[in-house]
């Protein structure tokens, strides 16, 4: 309960800062941030899903996993940076509503889950990628990581939409 009060207090102060005020009041800025946020999501989730599909076996005979990862993961990192910056800017404008929203723990929890999944994947099964780079069935652990990745990113988008409404 005290924790919730603290969040309400801090978020209230955050949205009263001149930065929060500028995000709300500058003509066209908010819709522009929303647009960039969507573009960032497209880059992040689009490339993540493409990698996930490859790990699930799509294009196994023609696309080496390492090639897919090398070309798409940097794109997803740029996407994440765009999403984080635009998201943080919009958050300052409406912090209290976000903190009070039941969708917020879902959204940030799902993004955290997706991040944790990435860390586990790269520190774990991905180290042996040379053995299943091309024309070979991907290990079950890699497929599981792909499934967790795809589902958590997509669910994060859904939670994000509920957060905005």
């Amino acid at each position: 309960m005290e924790m919730a009060d603290w969040f309400a207090e801090v978020s209230g102060r955050l949205e009263q800062t001149s930065f929060g005020e500028a995000v709300r009041a500058t003509p066209h800025l908010y819709p522009l941030l929303e647009s960039l946020h969507i573009l960032g999501i497209a880059m992040l989730v689009g490339s993540a899903l493409a990698v996930d599909l490859r790990l699930l076996g799509i294009g196994r005979g023609v696309l080496p996993v390492t090639t897919v990862a090398r070309y798409l993961l940097p794109l997803s990192h740029i996407g994440f940076a765009v999403v984080a910056v635009t998201g943080a800017a919009m958050f300052t404008a409406i912090a209290q509503a976000v903190v009070a929203s039941a969708a917020a723990p879902w959204k940030f929890g799902l993004v955290a889950l997706a991040g944790l999944n990435i860390a586990v994947f790269h520190a774990g099964v991905y180290r042996s990628v040379r053995a299943w780079d091309l024309d070979v069935r991907t290990p079950v652990r890699a497929q599981a990581a792909a499934l967790v990745s795809a589902l958590s990113w997509m669910a994060a988008i859904v939670a994000g939409r509920f957060l905005a409404y």
Partner: protein
Amino acid sequence: MRDACNGLNNRGHHVLASRRRALLVGGGLAAAPLLALLTPSRAMAHHGWGTFDTRHAYFVAGIVTNVRWGNPHSEVALRVQRTDLPANWTQRELPPGGNERNFRLTMASARSYVGEHQELHLVLAGPSWMQRWGLNRRLEVGESIEAVGYLDADGGRDLRPVMFWLADGQGIWQQLTAFPQQPEPVQTPAR
């Protein structure tokens, strides 16, 4: 030569099958989050009327005690001072840009606010819509406004005005998307 052709055919088959699989798996994955949308939710508090009980409209008048103006929508705290319908209620005209039918329905459904909250949280349109509906400035703390609208179904502290009036009588429309339930006229004996 024949081997080469077979090889090509096999490869073609492989790619086709792979594409079909990509469509199936990708489509299946993409459909998963849609399931979440099938469950009704109360999260749509701001843009839509989904979380508001639009069967009964309530009138409040009071003093603005807090303003958070701007995108994506403005929010105002209103200290409730008066809840009786003004004497000229039936003569009030449709605010500029308003919807005639929803205006009539809401005016006919309007009743005194009887909830326990002394301060209501008003969810208002963003600045660009405010401008289209005739308000080119912010609401200020300390000014008096009247509002008629619908309460959130979950506690009733949020009031979403269909329209509100400034102290000088200027009416400002607020409704854009459809009501989930038809407002009921105040005289309905069923209530």
